[in-house]
Symmetry: C2
Subunit: 143 residues, 2 copies
């Protein structure tokens, strides 16, 4: 099989990393199938995720591994991990404990993009379509 | 509301673009809720998507707008678009016509990451978990 065919259709894990050494991770609730969050992984974060069964990302802002829920207790237990055709994105199906979003919402995608009400000019705005599950001020330990 | 609070909890669309002017787009089948693909959008691609109701991405490899299905006929009709807390990712719920993946699969995520069978050494490999819906050689017009 040619290299690109093997990458797309073969059984070898051969991540297509971006210029920062990362792939995109989309995390989905295994039961409700809602998309909970989008984050990044490097190769080691993916290996840790597979080895421990706990969703582990690479935090770009903190430049370190980020075991989801380590601080908040809102862990993500891995059910399955799938990878896309060109191997630059994975989907994690997880059992989410509590809220996935640091703002206390079940999912980070709690706002819908809609046309500005009565605008007529084609502008877009956001409409909140969910209520928080938890008080974000109580999710994290205060230092 | 402080700027960051407004970004995360307000109703103003204020995309957090990466260094290439892009956000991540996760496309989900509105009926089955399967993640179909992950791609990128710039601000204009998002505006075109909202204005036309047809999923429109920014192709990084071709550096141009990419109206999904324009060539293959496998279009994506928008049902809803949601945005995440820091406004750097959107979820498109769509009605997918045909296959979302250029390899003929319904979803690009047709392979699961699994431990190497009988490996014991902790290696990972891919296992194909879906069958193609269509013959990819018949999806695109030959030039």
């Amino acid at each position: 099989m040619a290299a690109s065919k093997e990458q797309e259709l073969g059984n070898q894990l051969n991540l297509k990393l971006d210029s920062n050494g990362l792939i995109t991770a989309v995390t989905v609730d295994a039961d409700t199938r809602e998309v909970l969050m989008v984050a990044f992984m490097n190769k080691e974060a993916l290996e840790k995720t597979m080895a421990t069964g706990k969703a582990t990302y690479w935090s770009r802002s903190r430049q370190k591994f980020w075991v989801k829920g380590e601080e908040s207790g809102n862990t993500q237990q891995i059910v399955s991990v799938t990878i896309d055709c060109d191997q630059d994105a994975v989907v994690l199906k997880v059992r989410q404990k509590g809220a996935a979003c640091h703002n206390g919402f079940e999912s980070c995608f709690y706002r819908q993009i809609v046309p500005v009400a009565g605008g007529g000019g084609g502008g877009l705005e956001l409409k909140t379509i969910a209520a928080p599950l938890m008080d974000p001020d109580k999710m994290y330990k205060k230092s």
